[in-house]
Assembly symmetry: C2
Amino acid sequence: MKYPESIANLIESFSRLPGIGPKSASRLAFFVLKMKDLHVERFAKDLLDVKQTTFYCSQCGHITDIDPCMICRDESRDRSQVCVVENITDVFAIEKMGEYKGLYHVLHGSLSPMDGIGVADLKIPELLKRLEDPNIKEVILATNPNIEGESTALYIYSKLKDTDLKVTKMAHGLPVGGDLEYADEVTLSRAFEGRREF
Amino acid sequence: MKYPESIANLIESFSRLPGIGPKSASRLAFFVLKMKDLHVERFAKDLLDVKQTTFYCSQCGHITDIDPCMICRDESRDRSQVCVVENITDVFAIEKMGEYKGLYHVLHGSLSPMDGIGVADLKIPELLKRLEDPNIKEVILATNPNIEGESTALYIYSKLKDTDLKVTKMAHGLPVGGDLEYADEVTLSRAFEGRREF
């Protein structure tokens, strides 16, 4: 017996999410059937809203619903530092730590020749252009401590080493091979403190 | 730093789903940000559709988008047998096995005095009324093989034992303490074959 079409469709939609297989997708769909109408309607609205009201900051590439984003427009932040990260989730992780007060630059990925991701696919050209601003004194490379992240940092460093910019990278307090966003706050904090010249 | 409001809302909506904690909810929300607009719009539509187009069959209580449901209106099915299950997911599991050709009755839960779920909270009154139909000869109690399921079966049996109905229950091939919907097809099939008089 087939599922009614609307249920089959919802299972398919849930299956598109990461880490959700066909069995979990079915369970979630059947759970939705039992949810309050209000909650389901809100869920649908939230899905649409998040796509319609958010975009990437034209300056730093972080996700925002206002341009420039709240970080870029915050006059109390240190405009001489730019922390370069791979993903928006990394910005949230570092902000949660609460000790970094500079600006960010989100690359939206890392260099990965195997996957055909090159310099032009990331916000690296935008970063290099942005760093021509003489107010910026330090670039903190906070890409993920794995092969792609390290290569990306190395590439950016190669483009900056002959400038007057101080280029630092996160201290090796981060567990190697992992993702930055999973590091706990203390580890992140230590990694910031111990940052050193590239 | 707080999430933009629309992201915070979406994380909250994902958190309402079973088995999805705050961390998973965040990951899913950020994944949605990267999804194609088309897929997100379809997801939102599927959520609304499933609530708007599906309802419970007025005869058997199974989920359907047509009343009576495809099973109840199927003239080729054996109308002398009614298989009583707790949940709509059990109907799909038994149908997947493909050997049972009778009708169903979905109780929408099991008796659980601890949770305040009594006879009137389930479709038990509807079942007893439905079984007054002289065409029905056999009732197969296929509630889950756990305490609540067994008590529910026992209660229904107590109401039927003085009638002419043959009351059977699933053979103990089902793993005790589990949920019927997780049983593999062979186990389900054996359980059907070996059903015995209550």
